[in-house]
Amino acid sequence: MNVRSKAWKLLMIGGLGASLLAGCGSKEEAASPDAKNAEVKKEGFPIVEAPLKMTMMAPDTGVQNWEDMVVLKEMEKLTNISFEYKNAPKDSFETKKNLVFASEDYPDVFYAAGLTPSEQLKYGEQGVLLPLEDLIDEYAPNFKALMDEYPDVRKSITAPDGHIYSLPVIEFSQHWYRNPLWYNGSYLEALGIDKLPETTEELYTYLKRVKEEDPNGNGKADEIPISSVTTPAANIRDIRTWMLGAFGIYEETLFVDDNDVVRYSPIEEGYKEYLKYMNRLWTDDLLDHESFSQTAEQKQAKGESNQLGLFSAWHAYQLLGTEASDKDPMFLPVHAENVEKAAIAKNGGIKTGAFAITKTNPNPAASMRWADYLYSYEGSVLFNKGPEGTLWEYTNKEDHTKKAIPAPDGKDSEEIRSTLTPNYGIPAPTILTDEVNKGLTTEFDEWVNNETQTKLLDNGARVPFPALFLTVEEQSEINSLNSDLSTYVKQMEAKFITGAESVDGGWDAYVDTLKKMGAERVAEINQGAYDRWKAN
């Protein structure tokens, strides 16, 4: 008995020691929550007279330590605000973000965090994320002007409770919703095609000819007319948007039609036509039979050995492993015979959740002014192009025309850029306009822009569904519905296309099942949110 109580004592002492240790860790947090807001200048730099240090959480692509990034150092000099960076690798950023929220170990600001609308609402309502609208009014002249100029920005970032919890990524110079499809130019030449297919039937003929006429001229029937990859998130997504468009469907899950009615794509009649068409491509061996299993690298390898006739890529030459050229034309969206014109999806250009301020922030006003600079022309150029004189210089400062400076030692200038600035491969808070790139585009870029303009934008490309908020309850209902729906849709899509189930025979049962799983409810909830957004 005596010994037992000794053991207890030991345990208690141990526990006491641990709690003492625990006390040490949390000291730093309470360091400077004093009302220093008064010292923040409303205009001009530096933002604060006395140096201010905060913590920033951001995803990291692992190219360069953020402490060593020239752009961030410049920013520190300019504003007198420095950051301690809490980076997490980009691919595991979600995990770390959840951990941070769950453990209440908040950074002072989130940068490029990709906070989802539901996270913004949830943590906004809990008071973890600060409402920004008053700060924007007072301390963010650039961003405010931007919202006045583009009402859609304000609409899209305002939560249903009327607050703004995050600043967005705005890209008005990028119109693609998905990577475009590209034709293999050498195939077109070999087959003597000078007019791109405009209907699904013409496209079928092209693919068939690729299959049968040996356009790569190696004497082997190794051509793959169209190839795609499947990720855990979605089947053959890279080509699907374009194929669905032929049957009047803008996007694979949700879109709003021309009469402001929200549609759930997988139960639409056009979706059935799409499945039939794809099934036909599959049965005739025109759609790569590895489309549901291969990785992006495997597709890349096929591209490099010149086996593909039509494929998705950022630029065709990147997949074919050739030099940039205007020989590989962009896919002109085709349409089915009974559909008047193809539905073409366009990038909305607004993505919320890029920048947020938390309740531990010692000086929200200063943080807001810091972020506001990112939405000015100068800030955008600094963060997206690097400081003047490293990779570019002005030829005409008045109208913002620039010219590129070749990178030293024959290095890739983009490679160097990725070490200068954090805005590389992450959804960073910024605004990208054509003005930022003025003078820096190459002839090839111009050609691509022209292809985009004539083939997509001029043919009526539009945003399939605006960026909008659902309430917390709506979001949780959607989440639970979607977890069943998307799995089932994904499974059935593969079955229909590969012919494991016949489209004609199985369609009605499939639609019934989806309806039972709440497909219509998903559309209904989003309809409500869309109407709110529209009325805002």
Binding site: A7, L99, A112, Q298, Q318, D412, V448
Partner: protein, 307 residues
């Protein structure tokens, strides 16, 4: 070969058939184990396009050492290597310092409260705090973003303590301990001078278990570390491979043609060094294994069979 060693009694037909099957089975097992090793070795010196198209399936095609060049010229990999060695050496040393005394103490039948302590320790095998509470503990101990975060929280593994305890129980006879005590030996000295020298197999096994664990671990560095300079090798590898997965579609970032072009070229580099990096990072473990293997079999067996 088998004949030379085999006993003079002639094998029956049944035995021969059995032997034949055994060899056939072992050959299949050998192929299954060996194939991935050869594949990775070959892939590491082949042209990545050949690997991805499936042209390279056993022997290297279009041999190139560019992948290894990139690996050896990448400072992040070397830094990661150094960190991993630090984590593995320090971590394993601490693991042994904690596990062996704990296991020995728990193996002694005259240890008062043994069952009680053992119960407590075993409890943690079945219940644990989960990710967030553990993170909070580590954070409140001030260990976040320190090297300690990768070493201290995993200082003891219950499973290994149990294995070591069983070893001590079955190999160190109680009489030995009594004899030592009669000669005036203290417990500490007994452990240090008598028990440990007799326990080489279990020390080797524990070192291997823990060492491999440290070498391969990346999850805790993912959770606890913020700065790249402290990343272990596995984490650096992960990042390199993840860059490969990154494409215009998946980033959700503001993109432009240059970024897309760089990502696409990065993807090629990554597929080139992927296998090289796997070889470089597993080589040390493979090299150490044969030397410890002798103890390995012995140690685990002794721990499990009482005799």
């Amino acid at each position: 070969m088998a004949k030379a060693i085999a006993n003079p009694i002639r094998e029956s037909k049944g035995d021969k058939i059995f032997l034949g099957f055994t060899y056939a089975y072992l050959c299949v097992a050998l192929v299954v184990v060996l194939y991935p090793l050869i594949y990775i070795l070959s892939a590491s010196i082949s042209n990545p396009t050949a690997v991805n198209t499936g042209e390279m399936w056993l022997f290297p095609k279009e041999i190139t050492f560019a992948g290894y060049e990139l690996v050896f010229n990448n400072p992040a990999i070397w830094n990661g290597y150094l960190n991993t060695i630090i984590y593995t050496v320090l971590g394993t040393a601490l693991n042994l310092a904690v596990t062996l005394p704990a296991a020995y103490a728990l193996s002694r039948s005259d240890f008062v409260g043994r069952g009680w302590f053992m119960g407590f320790i075993l409890l943690t095998m079945f219940f644990n705090g989960g990710l967030v509470p553990t993170y909070l503990v580590v954070k409140n101990l001030g260990l976040v973003n320190t090297m300690g975060a990768l070493i201290l929280p995993v200082a003891a593994s219950v499973w290994n303590i149990v294995v070591a305890r069983t070893f001590f129980q079955s190999t160190i006879p109680k009489e030995l301990q009594e004899a030592a005590h009669i000669d005036g030996c203290t417990n500490l000295r007994l452990f240090w001078k008598i028990v440990l020298p007799l326990s080489a197999p279990i020390i080797a096994v524990m070192a291997l278990f823990y060492g491999v664990g440290h070498w391969n671990s990346y999850f805790s560095s993912l959770i606890y570390l913020n700065s790249e300079s402290k990343y272990p090798l596995q984490m650096v590898l992960r990042q390199i491979l993840v860059l490969q997965e990154m494409s215009a579609e998946t980033t959700g970032a503001a993109m432009n043609a240059d970024t897309a072009a760089l990502m696409s070229s990065k993807a090629e580099t990554a597929s080139l060094i992927k296998y090289g990096v796997i070889v470089v990072s597993t080589l040390p473990i493979i090299a150490v294994y044969p030397f410890l293997q002798r103890y390995f079999v012995q140690g685990v067996m002794i721990g499990s069979v009482k005799g």
